[in-house]
């Protein structure tokens, strides 16, 4: 167990360090997220749909698209000079490698969300202050599951042709449960519905997280030829 954490820490620290030196991926994802928020706002007919009505959907479309383009690079950076082989030779602990990649991706996606969320509040003028803790729980629960599946699939698609195109095709169906669940929960929270109406959604997200974090850990080794 300690070995797993040690490897995970090394991998995550490496990925974060690489990203901090250039900040290209993170910056472009943040800009991308802001653009999506703005486009979704201006693309609606203001006389027919109020901003508050589409706010939950806009938030989660933004979060999932920004997450998607960020996940593409998780293993793309290991393709150069066949760095993945080096990692596999250095760390025989596959579970640790997966958890490290997952942690790094969660940090990146979480950072994008932290930047995009205040802008979302500003653009869509949503009353969030009292609901902040609940919204944070929804975001964490929905993000873990989809980033975990995304990490696993990212490791596959970088080894195929059309890598950048493959990831959305494969990952978006897996995003349906967390995103739909998160949108429903977000709109109920923003409407100040009682906690009892939220429990079903929370359970769904938690179950999704449990299954789709454990499964990728178990089958991650199948994505490499050892």
């Amino acid at each position: 167990m300690r070995d797993v954490l040690r490897v995970a820490w090394a991998i995550a620290a490496k990925d974060v360090r690489i990203e901090m030196r250039t900040r290209t991926a993170l910056l472009s994802s943040v800009v991308f997220a802001i653009l999506v928020l703005a486009i979704l706002y201006v693309a609606r007919d203001p006389t027919a749909v109020s901003a508050l009505e589409i706010a939950p959907a806009a938030l989660w479309v933004t979060f999932s698209f920004a997450g998607l383009i960020n996940l593409n690079r998780a293993f793309a950076i290991e393709r150069e000079n066949d760095a993945m082989s080096g990692i596999l030779m250095t760390f025989p602990n596959i579970t640790g490698i997966f958890l490290g990649k997952l942690a790094a991706n969660l940090i990146f996606v979480g950072t994008i969300q932290l930047v995009a969320f205040p802008l979302f509040v500003l653009f869509y003028d949503v009353p969030v202050l009292t609901n902040l803790p609940l919204l944070a729980v929804v975001t964490v629960l929905a993000t873990i599951g989809m980033v975990s599946v995304g990490t696993l699939l990212s490791s596959i698609v970088v080894q195929t042709r059309f890598a950048e195109l493959m990831l959305p095709v494969l990952l978006l169906p897996f995003m349906v449960p967390p995103v739909v669940g998160a949108v429903q929960l977000t709109s109920r929270i923003l409407a100040n519905r009682p906690l009892s109406e939220l429990m079903g959604g929370f359970k769904l997200l938690a179950a999704f997280d449990l299954v789709f974090v454990v499964m990728p850990i178990l089958i991650f080794s199948a994505t490499f030829d050892r």
């Binding site: 494969l170 169906p173 349906v176 299954v211 030829d225």
Partner: protein, 233 residues
């Protein structure tokens, strides 16, 4: 040589099964059109059920077997499981297309719209697209071992995703008819209609296995040819 003989034998057996299935399909159409009563409220449009429901059944079987064969591949690393999963997925897409193609023609006269964002339609569409993605993934991977491992991962994950997508979209309103055959209270459908539907299910199951056997045989032959080309080079 024995691999080739086996593959050819499987291929011809699949062809025989498919011919039997096609004859059964003709029988199904005749029986559905001429010897099964009209549904009182839905009229002739309801006849589509005898193709729509069996193809949904075959597509469901296909998805499930693809997932199970994928799990088997990850466990045993046996090439046969990979070929079976791929064949099943491809045939599943075919039946899925029939299901999604026939549904709107039943929906338009009965619901008044070609497509509705009902729970079952929505989840079926997403899962259908995932398995199209599965086939694209296979196409975009050259190396056989790699292709087998990657598609097994996606196939197994897809199987696990099914209940989640289903649960999620049930948070929406549902318009699709509730089951009238497989439900706890028992069957609520006239005997003659049920008989025709069951004929359809049997016919489509036979067709499924006929197609999968042919596809499997063809894949083996294709792999053998590529090995020969590789050896010759």
């Amino acid at each position: 040589m024995t691999d080739r003989t086996n593959a050819l034998r499987l291929l011809s057996r699949g062809q025989i099964l498919t011919v039997i299935g096609l004859i059964g399909f003709g029988f199904l159409i005749v029986r559905a059109m001429a010897f099964t009563p009209l549904e009182v409220r839905q009229g002739a449009a309801q006849k589509i059920m005898y193709v729509h429901v069996p193809s949904a059944w075959a597509a469901g079987v296909a998805i499930m077997l693809t997932g199970l064969f994928s799990a088997a591949y990850l466990w045993l690393r046996d090439e046969r499981a990979d070929r079976a999963a791929a064949a099943s997925a491809e045939v599943g897409i075919l039946f899925g297309t029939v299901m999604l193609g026939t549904g709107p023609f039943w929906a338009k006269p009965v619901w008044g719209a070609w497509w509705v964002w009902d729970a079952r339609l929505t989840s079926t569409l997403f899962l259908y697209l995932l398995f199209v993605g599965y086939l694209i993934l296979r196409d975009s991977t050259e190396d056989r071992g790699m292709r087998a491992r990657f598609s097994a991962v996606v196939g197994l994950m897809g199987l696990v995703l099914v209940p989640f997508v289903h649960l999620t979209v049930y948070m929406f309103r549902t318009q699709h008819p509730e089951p009238v055959v497989l439900k706890p209270e028992g069957v609520t459908m006239p005997g003659s209609m049920l008989a025709t539907l069951l004929v359809g299910v049997v016919v489509f199951t036979v067709l499924y296995f006929g197609f999968v056997m042919q596809r499997y045989g063809l894949t083996v032959l294709d792999d053998l040819r590529q090995e020969e080309m590789y050896d010759a080079a």
